[in-house]
Structures are given as structure tokens and as C-alpha cells.
Symmetry: C2
Subunit: 351 residues, 2 copies
């Protein structure tokens, strides 16, 4: 493996000194880029794109060709694990992800396939290897997974949900069934992230997209505790270097203190939390990643720059900040505005 | 007007002593009740039901016939004001509310009708008068409105939204246009709630359903400041009695301190916040209303009772608590479980 030429992202996550605040964008390889849409059309559909290592690599690198981003993130879907467990992931246009089977009973949990990393999920590791090779030391590669709770919401509901009716009914009525499912998922996510690390991921992020719909107690019991178990099971050093882990619970701003106690290296923040106040709350335990509202990209380069400055000022002096959006970049964002965003972070944070 | 026979709800909101913790349920008149569905079918559609005072009164009273609730809430829609402003509200089955016209420019804002309370919106006041008369002093009647920000999201997006793309583009690019719209709405909501108070509402609640999608700064500037202005403009005493005002920002758990500074009498809480910690944060400034996850109603009477006990214990001794769900009751909730919920609150909180 080639030496990293830009390790600013990794150093900021470890709270080591940096020359400027590193930046990447959640969902930076995505539909807002015409070149992404072209590659996706070539692949046929979304899952075929994820499963073709060369095309997954191509779309992973596309945003790096446009913008001087400080990290690449594996292009994949968060639902690879449930799909590999036998649920049959598919996408209906405009409908979001769907599963052919749902998980509603203990028998359903028992019937899940235990996927292997060199079997059902090898295509993901293969993509990591190809991307890492093609990156050739330019910037670090981030691996990722959905959190057990977040994966479980899709598995129990059968797709996206607005009210989380079925999984919450299970949580309040048959918590032992849900715990059994989450337990299976936590083991699998640990293996999955470790396999990504061995294949070449230099940092990993756990996306807890739906942890914020839980009550304060249920968040700890049904989401956080499983993320903590994953953090404890992860390879934390590889190839002679620390592999940082980032936890991101969307709408988790009330729970940063307990998130920081998991042993993660960094927390992702959405835009509802003042990053300076978050920093004061978590102290020196973790670095912070975030937190511009992606909708700011709908405004002008000037307004974007002002917002970047506010967030940098809010964070204050010193390291431990990775700049990002507070959620994935929207499909209608203007790529030129994304460029203005990345440039503003670099210019305004230069020490 | 008849004297109130049960004013527990009003006393708890004023932090006066009570014999038990009063309880009502957001959306307590709704699709989970077969008698509601029957009346709605009789009315034809949702808007016709809102506009027919006798039928609106009938559905308002239905949950009181089933459960010993401590308050009634006006049956109406949160989008009556935008509809009266000329946007043309309609409902597509399964699609939620839609508007025939949207508000995207300053010209659109200038073109809005200024509705009057004895004109376009008189049907709401008429419903309040009929319901108050039929309640005949049984329990207090709550009036309500959507917050200016929440109303604006529907007006700008043209209906429900997942990403709030258009209103956020307006907020970040043309904040003066959005302020002009919010200003119009704040004036109208103030008149609307005052007219409800004069017509007979004995407390009012402002539903800020979508304030939680805002950044921490934008929440203050585009939602909270307008709610504060409304609170300052409300009739606070009527018929010789204080008229309490309740602010409810869904997903607003990070902002309770500034919400408490508006001068509102009480804050609504969703289930993501520990009500005891919320109480410590707001001190003696406000009462608290909440905060059971409505999905707990999908479990069993025993589990519901345990959850009620936890929340009562979390709040701790003393007055200032109105029990409620943290959001509207779901259409698939079992009415018998709602009964178990109401009974559990009364029994477990009896002093």
C-alpha cells in the first residue's frame, strides 16, 4: 500500500494538529453529479452499481476529481447486510429501498442467513480493495455500515418508514425478539467493518440514520448499546495506523455525552446542534464531524462561505474538527456550490 | 358559560396543585376511533368535517365519551389559515394535504388574502362556540394553531415534505421573503387564537411540527421568534381566568430553555427528552406536557401502565405536568389501549 499523501482527515479525527480543517461530504458520490448518473445508467440499476467493483470505484472517485476533498467514502448501500441475510433488497423508482421479505417474528430472525465476508458480502470488500488501489494514497478511504437499529428498521418495516410502526410495536411488545435481531446485526456489522478495514478502509463510520426516532431510554437500549459493542469489537489499528471510528446518529443531538462514552473517536453532528456547545459537552473525548445543513447549498457561494465561517467560528480554535454536511448532499444540489463549500472550508480554516 | 367541573388541566398548566396528573392525547379525535371514521364518512371528506360545526363538535366529543380525558381539543386542521389565505387546500387519499397554489416569491406573499376571523375563518370560531356549549363545563376546551414556520413549510412546498427543499432554499437565499411570509402568518395566527379564545377556547396550543428540521440558529430566527410574538399578542386572561398557552416543537428537545423564555405557560415534549431532565432545565418557568411515545400503545395495557409509571416517576413530585403522548395518536392504535393509558395516568398519579 502506498503512503498517504493527505492524512489531514485522519489526523483531525485523532485530534492531532492539522494545517486546515479537512472536509468531505456525506453521499458525495451521488445523483447531484451528472457523471454519477451516467455511470449509474451504465450499471443498469443501483444494486448492480454497488456490486460492480470497477463502477463502484469509478463513482467513489468522481467527486475527488471535481473537488479537493480530504477523504473518499466507499460507494455502497447501507442495506447490503440485510440483503445478504436473504431479505431480497430491491428499489422501486421514487419509492426508496424495499425488501421482498420482512422480519416480524422470532422465527423470521432465526431464519436469517448469517452472511460471510468472503461469501455474500465479498463484493463490498472487493470494491474496497479496488478503490484503495485506485486512490493510490491520495486521501484516506472511509468504510461504513448502517447501525444495527437503522438496519433493523428497514428489515422489520420492509423498507423506509414514516412512523416505524412495526419495529416499535416489536420493541415495546417483544423486546427480546428485537434484541435477538440486533444482536445478530451487531455481530455482522462488526465483521463487516473489520473486513472493510482489512480490505483497506482507513476509517469507518456507523450511520445511525434512525436512532433519533427513539425515546431517550430506548435509544440507549436498542441503538447505542449495539453501536458500543461494535466499537469494542473493531480493529482499531491496522497497517501501523489507528483506524478511527465515527458514530453518527441523525437527530441525536441530545445524546452526545453518552455517544462520546462508547469509545468512538468522533461523533457526526447534524445542523440542529451548535458545534461549539457540542464540543464543550463532549470535552476531549471525541472529535466532531459536521455540521452544515445540506440545504445551504441551495443558496449562493457567498452565503455558503458565510455559513462555513460561522461553523468554523462556532467550533473555535484547535484541532478535532472534520467539516461535513449534517446529512447527505441532496440530489438537487448544484455541483458548483459543492465546490464553493469545499473551497471555503479550506481557505477559511487555513492556519 | 357554565362553570368548569374539571379544571385539573388548567391548574396543572398554571402549576397549581392538582389531585392527579391530568391527561389528554394529541389527535384524540381521529381515525383510531371507529365512530370518528363513521362521522367522517358522513361528512364526505376531511375539510367538510372541519367546516361543519355540528360534526366537528361530534368528533371532538367522541373521545370524551370513551375516556375520562381532562381536556377536549377543537377538531380542525392545522392548514385552515393557508387555505383561507387562498391557497386551495385539498387532500389526496394517502398523500396528505396539498395546495393548489404555492408561495415561492415575494409576489406570491403579497398576493395572499388576509383572512378575517368573522369571514373566511368564522367556521372555526363557530365550531369552538358549539363545542364549548356542548361540553357544558365538563372539561376545558383547547384551541390551537400551527406555528408560522410550520404553516409556511406547507405553503412553500405545496404540501408535506421530506427534505423541505423549497422553503430552505428560500430561507437561505431570500430570507426577507420568508420573513415577510412569517410576519403575515404570525399576525394571522395571533388573531386566530385570540378569536378562538373569545369564542370559548380555555387554553391554546401552538403546534410547531416542523421546527425541529431547522438549524439551531434558524430555529430561533424563523420559528421561535414568531411564536414568541404570538405569545406576546395573545389574550392571556378571559372570563376572569388565565388562558394558558402551550408551545410544542416536535424534535425541539435541544431548545427547551429558549422556548421557556418566550413567556409560554407550558412546553410540549416529544419522547426523545427525559421529562425530569427537561423539568430541571426549564425550572419554574413553564409546565411540561408529554411525553409518551404513541407507539407504546401498540404494546399491552401492562406495558403501557409501566411506561406511564416511568414517566410519572421521571417527572417527580409536585404539579406542573400534563400527561400526553409525544405526538398524535396513530390511526392503528387500539382504543382499548388508549383507555388503559388514560386510566393508568389517573390511577398512578392520584395524590
Amino acid at each position: 500500500m502506498t503512503d498517504l499523501r493527505n492524512d489531514t482527515f485522519l489526523r483531525a479525527l485523532m485530534k492531532e494538529s492539522v494545517e486546515y480543517t479537512p472536509v468531505w461530504m456525506m453521499r458525495q458520490a451521488g445523483r447531484y453529479l451528472p457523471e454519477y448518473k451516467a455511470t449509474r445508467a451504465e450499471a443498469g440499476d443501483f444494486l448492480s452499481l454497488c456490486k460492480n467493483a470497477d463502477l463502484a470505484c469509478a463513482v467513489t472517485l468522481q467527486p475527488l476529481e471535481r473537488f479537493p476533498l480530504d477523504a473518499a467514502i466507499l460507494f455502497s448501500d447501507i442495506l447490503t447486510i440485510p440483503d445478504a441475510m436473504g431479505l431480497g433488497l430491491y428499489f422501486e423508482s421514487g419509492e426508496g429501498p424495499r425488501f421482498r421479505k420482512t422480519v416480524r417474528t422470532e422465527q423470521d430472525v432465526d431464519g436469517l442467513i448469517q452472511p460471510t465476508m468472503n461469501g455474500e458480502l465479498d463484493y463490498v470488500m472487493n470494491a474496497v480493495r479496488v478503490i484503495r488501489r485506485e486512490l493510490n494514497g491520495r486521501v484516506p478511504l472511509i468504510g461504513f455500515s448502517g447501525s444495527p437499529w437503522t438496519l433493523a428498521t428497514y428489515m422489520v418495516e420492509g423498507g423506509s418508514s414514516k412512523d416505524f410502526r412495526h419495529i416499535k410495536a416489536m420493541m415495546y411488545s417483544q423486546p427480546q425478539v428485537l434484541h435477538k435481531l440486533l444482536d445478530r446485526l451487531a455481530l455482522c456489522v462488526t465483521d463487516y467493518l473489520n473486513a472493510q478495514i482489512i480490505a483497506g478502509a482507513q476509517a469507518v463510520q456507523i450511520f445511525d440514520t434512525w436512532g433519533g426516532v427513539l425515546g431517550h431510554r430506548e435509544y440507549r437500549e436498542f441503538s447505542l448499546s449495539y453501536m458500543q459493542r461494535i466499537v469494542e469489537g473493531l480493529i482499531r489499528e491496522h497497517d501501523g495506523r489507528r483506524v478511527p471510528v465515527i458514530l453518527f446518529t441523525k437527530n441525536g443531538g441530545q445524546w452526545l455525552e453518552v455517544m462520546a462514552d462508547t469509545g468512538a473517536d468522533a461523533l457526526g453532528l447534524d445542523w440542529t446542534t451548535h458545534i461549539g456547545e457540542a464540543r464543550a459537552r463532549v470535552g476531549s473525548k471525541v472529535a466532531l464531524q459536521g455540521n452544515m445543513d445540506p440545504c445551504v447549498l441551495y443558496s449562493s457561494p457567498k452565503r455558503i462561505r458565510a455559513e462555513v465561517k460561522r461553523i468554523l467560528d462556532d467550533y473555535g480554535p484547535g484541532t478535532g474538527h472534520v467539516f461535513n454536511l449534517g446529512h447527505g448532499i441532496h440530489q438537487f444540489a448544484n455541483p458548483e456550490h459543492a465546490a464553493a463549500f469545499v473551497d471555503a472550508v479550506h481557505e477559511l480554516s487555513a492556519r
